[in-house]
Amino acid sequence: MKAGSGSFFWNVDIAVSLTFFTILLLGLACIGFFMGRRRATVLADTQSAALHSRPVYHGWYVALACGLPAVVIWITALVVGDQLIESTMIASLPQDIRDASGPVLNRFLADAETLAGGGQPTIEITPELEAAARRFGNLRTLEHWIGFAGALGLGLIGFGLAYRRLSVALRARQPVERALMVVLLLAAALSILTTVGIVFSVLFESIRFFSQVPIFEFLFGLQWSPQIALRSDQVGSSGAFGAVPLFVGTLMVTFIAMLVAAPIGLMSAVYLAEYAHPRFRAGAKPMLEILAGVPTVVYGFFAALVVAPALRDAGASIGLSVASESAVAAGSVMGIMIIPFVSSLADDALAAVPNSLRDASLGLGATQQETITRVVLPAALPGIVAGLLLAVSRAIGETMIVVMAAGLAANLTANPLEAVTTVTVQIVTLLVGDQEFDSAKTLAAFALGLVLFIITLGLNVVALRVVQKYREKVD
C-alpha cells in the first residue's frame, strides 16, 4: 500500500493486494496440507489401521478445503465490489457529471481511479475529481479488506471442517482427484476461452466500427486515409476507410514472399529429404532452424537497413526507381523468413511418402530425379499445398518486417518497386500511441484485425484439414 500522489489519501494497490492474498492463501493451504498429512499419519499409527487414502491425499484434502473457498470468496468480493463501487461512485457524483454523456462520465471515473492510484489524470484536477478520487480510494480499500477478511474466515472454516472429517476410512483421494480433474479441464478450456476472447474482442470493436463506417465501404473502398478522421470532430464522416489498397498491398507482399520462399524452401526440402547424406542433413537442418529462430524484428531491421537500400541502389544503377520502402524489399525478406517454414512442412510431406513408391519407381529404372518429380512430389502434393497455405497465412499475418520495411501510405499500385502498406502495418500504426478508443481510427484497427483473423483462420482450417486427411491416407 503506497501513498497516492498529493499524498492526501491512500489506496490499495492491486499488485500489493494480490501479493498479500497469495501469501495468505499459500500459507493457509500449506498449513492445511502439513497438518492434514500429519493427522492422517498419526491416525493410522494410533488406530493401527490401514488408511483408505495415502496421507498426502489427506493433506491435499485439507489444503483444498481451506484454499478453494478462499479463492472463490476473494474473487467474488473483488468482482462484486467493483460493480458496487462503480454504482456508488456514480450515485455520489454531482448532478452535472452524472448527466453527462457516457464517454465523459467514463472518462471522469477512469481519471478518478487513476488519481486515486497516484497517476496523472487526463483531465484537469478539480475539487470534484479529488473528492471522487478520495472516495474511490476509500471504497477500494474497504473492498480489499472485506475480501481479505472473507477469504481468511472462509478458509479457516473450511480448514476446521475438513480437519475434523479426517479419519482412517475417509476416501480423501476421490474428492482431491476430482478437484484436480476440474483444474486440468479448466486449463484445457483456457484455449477455447482464448479463441472466444479473440473473436469477441475484435468482433465487438468491429461492430462499433461498422456502425460508423459502412462495411461495404470498408471492404470495397479504394481510399484509405484514416488520419483525417482524427482531426475532424465528425468521426467517420471525413476519414476514408476503404481497405482495398491494404488488401492489395498485403497480397503483393505475400506474393513476393511466396515467390522467394516456395521454390527455395521446396527444393531445399527435396534435397534434404531425397538426396542428402544423413550427416549432411544433420548439418543443414540446424542451419534452417537458425533461420527460423531469428526474431521477425531482426528480419525487419535487415529489410529496412540492408535489403531496401541495396535494392534501391541496384535499381538506380540500371535506371529503375525503387522506393526506399518498396514492396519487393519487405516481400523478399519475408520470403527468407518463411523458407524454413515451407521447407520443414514440405520435408514432413515428403517423408510421409512411403518408400515402397520410391522403390517401385527406381525398380523400373527411373533416375532419382524422375522418381522425385513424377512419383514422390505428386504423392506429397496435398501435404505440400497445405504447407504452402500455412506459409501464406503466416506471411499475411507477419507484422514486424512490413512495419519496419514497407510503407505507411496506402498506394493502390501493382508495381512492386513502389511503397505499399499492409493490413498489419495499419493495425500497428492505428493503435500505437493512441488511447482513444471511440474514434473510427482506432476501431478500424480492430476491423482490420477481424479481417486478418478470418482470412488466416480460413487458410489454417483448410490446410490443417488437408494435412490431417492426407496423414490418415498415408498411415
Binding site: 499488485a15 486449463a187 474482442s201 527444393m267 531445399s268 527435396v270 535487415f302 512495419v403 500497428v428
Partner: protein
C-alpha cells in the same frame, strides 16, 4: 525377343536418351542443392551484416580530461549544483587554448557526451573534497566523436555534409595523438536504460523488461499448458468437444501474433484495466500466445512415454492420477522442459503483440517489477531501428546480437536437455 529388348535398353538411341536423363538428374540435384545454398547465403548475409554493424556497439569512445574543480564553479557545500559544463570547457581549453570565443566553446562542449558531464559531476558529488583540486578522468565522448573514432564518418566528404566539422576533427586528432582518446568495452550498455543519446543508451531496461515478461509468461503458460496437455492426453474422454479443443489449439497456434496483441489490448487493458506498458500485460499476452505451442509439445512428450509404463503402474494398483504424477510426468519432464524453453524463446523474440499493449514507449528507468512500465528487448530493437541517428544503428545491431545470443543459449539448453536426459525406448 531378347535381342530386341537388348536394343531397347542398350542400343545407341538408348544410350543417348540415358545421357540426357542423367544430365537432367544432375541439373535437378544441383538446383536443389543451390536452393539450400541460397538459404545458407541468406543466413550468412543476415548474421554478417548485423555483426559487422553491431560489434562496435559494444565499444565506447572515451577521452581523458584534466578537470579542475575551482571553487568559483562548484560550491563544496552543494557540489551537485556546480557549473559542470564550464568546468569541462575549461578542461578542454587547457588542450586547445585557441578556443575562446563563444562558438568554439560550444564546439568544445560538443565533444563530450551528456554522460561525460554527469561523470564529472558525480565525481565531486561523491567526494566534495575534490573542490579546488585538479583530477584527470576518462569520460565518454559525444556520439559524433564516437562515430568518428570508430571510422563511421567519411573524413574525405565535404565539411558541410559531415556531422563533424574540420575544427572538431582537428581537435579529436590532436587528442588522439596525445593518447587522450581510448576505446573501451561499453559495460554500461548492459546496465542502463534507454536514452535519447545513442552513446548513453543501453539495453539493461529492455533486458529486465523481457525478464519480467518471460517470468510472467512462464508462470502462466507452463503450468496451464502442461495441465491442459495432461488432461487432453491422459484423462479426456474422447468426446466431441475434446476434439473441438484439439482443433482449436491447432488453429490458435497459427493465429498471427498481432491478433493476440489485439486480444491483450481489448481484454487486459480495456476490460481489466491493467497498467499499460507493464511486463505483466505483455507476459499474459505472450502466455496466451505460447500456450498452444506448450500444449502441443507437452502432448508429444506424453505420447513419447510408452503405454507399457502406464499399464505397469496401473497393474500394481496406482490410480490414473498417481500413474501420471509419479511415472508419466517425470519421464516426460526433459522433453516438457525442452518444449517450454523453445516456447519461451519464441516469446522472447516476439514484438508485434507488445506494440499493441503499449510496451513501445521511451522508458529510461529500469523496471523493478512486472507492474512497472517497461519495454522488451525486441521492442527496444524496433524503437532504435527507427531512430535516425547514426549512433543508433550500431546500438540496434548490438542489441540484436544480444537478443540472438539469448536465443542461442536458450535453444542450446533445450538441445542439451533433449540429448542429455532423453530416455530412448
Amino acid at each position: 525377343m531378347a535381342d530386341t529388348t537388348f536394343a531397347i535398353h542398350s542400343g545407341p538411341a538408348a544410350q543417348a536418351r540415358l545421357r540426357k536423363r542423367y544430365a537432367r538428374e544432375r541439373r535437378f540435384k544441383l538446383m536443389c542443392l543451390a536452393a539450400l545454398g541460397v538459404a545458407a547465403i541468406f543466413l550468412v548475409v543476415l548474421i554478417g551484416s548485423i555483426v559487422s554493424r553491431g560489434w562496435s556497439g559494444f565499444l565506447v569512445t572515451q577521452m581523458e580530461l584534466t578537470v579542475t574543480y575551482s571553487p568559483e564553479m562548484v560550491d563544496a557545500s552543494n557540489p551537485a549544483d556546480g557549473n559542470f559544463r564550464m568546468i569541462v570547457v575549461e578542461a578542454l581549453q587547457k588542450e586547445f587554448p585557441e578556443a575562446t570565443d563563444h562558438s568554439s566553446m560550444r564546439a568544445l562542449l560538443g565533444l563530450v557526451s551528456n554522460g561525460g558531464f554527469l561523470a564529472v559531476r558525480n565525481a565531486v558529488v561523491d567526494d566534495p573534497s575534490l573542490v579546488g583540486q585538479t583530477v584527470t578522468m576518462w569520460v565518454s565522448a559525444a556520439s559524433d566523436i564516437d562515430m568518428l573514432n570508430k571510422g563511421y564518418v567519411d573524413r574525405t566528404a565535404p565539411e558541410e555534409l559531415r556531422r563533424v566539422d574540420d575544427q572538431t576533427m582537428a581537435w579529436v586528432d590532436k587528442l588522439e595523438a596525445d593518447g587522450r582518446i581510448r576505446t573501451g568495452f561499453n559495460w554500461d550498455f548492459f546496465t542502463t536504460g534507454d536514452s535519447r543519446e545513442p552513446e548513453l543508451a543501453g539495453i539493461g531496461g529492455a533486458i529486465l523488461g523481457s525478464f519480467w515478461m518471460l517470468l510472467v509468461t512462464f508462470l502462466v503458460s507452463f503450468p496451464t499448458g502442461v495441465a491442459a496437455a495432461v488432461y487432453l492426453e491422459e484423462f479426456a474422454p474422447k468426446r466431441r468437444w475434446v476434439d473441438i479443443i484439439e482443433v482449436n489449439i491447432n488453429n490458435l497456434a497459427a493465429v498471427p501474433s498481432i491478433v493476440f496483441g489485439l486480444l491483450g489490448l481489448a481484454v487486459f487493458l480495456n476490460l481489466m484495466h491493467l497498467p499499460r506498458s507493464a511486463p505483466l500485460v505483455g507476459g499474459l499476452t505472450l502466455a496466451l500466445m505460447t500456450l498452444p505451442t506448450i500444449i502441443i509439445t507437452t502432448r508429444a512428450a506424453l505420447k513419447g512415454v510408452p503405454p507399457s509404463i502406464r499399464e505397469a503402474a496401473l497393474g500394481i494398483g496406482a490410480s490414473p492420477v498417481q500413474v501420471v504424477s509419479h511415472h508419466v510426468l517425470p519421464l516426460a519432464l526433459p522433453r516438457l522442459l525442452t518444449g517450454a524453453i523453445i516456447g519461451m524463446a519464441q516469446a522472447l523474440g516476439e514484438t508485434a503483440p507488445l506494440l499493441m499493449i503499449g510496451m513501445v514507449a521511451f522508458i529510461v528507468d529500469l523496471p523493478s517489477g512486472p507492474l512497472d512500465a517497461a519495454t522488451a528487448l525486441p521492442v527496444q530493437i524496433f524503437l532504435w531501428a527507427d531512430s535516425p541517428e547514426r549512433g543508433f544503428v550500431e546500438k540496434t545491431s548490438a542489441a540484436i546480437m544480444v537478443l540472438l545470443g539469448f536465443l542461442v543459449v536458450m535453444n542450446g539448453i533445450a538441445v542439451f536437455l533433449r540429448q542429455r536426459f532423453e530416455v530412448r525406448w
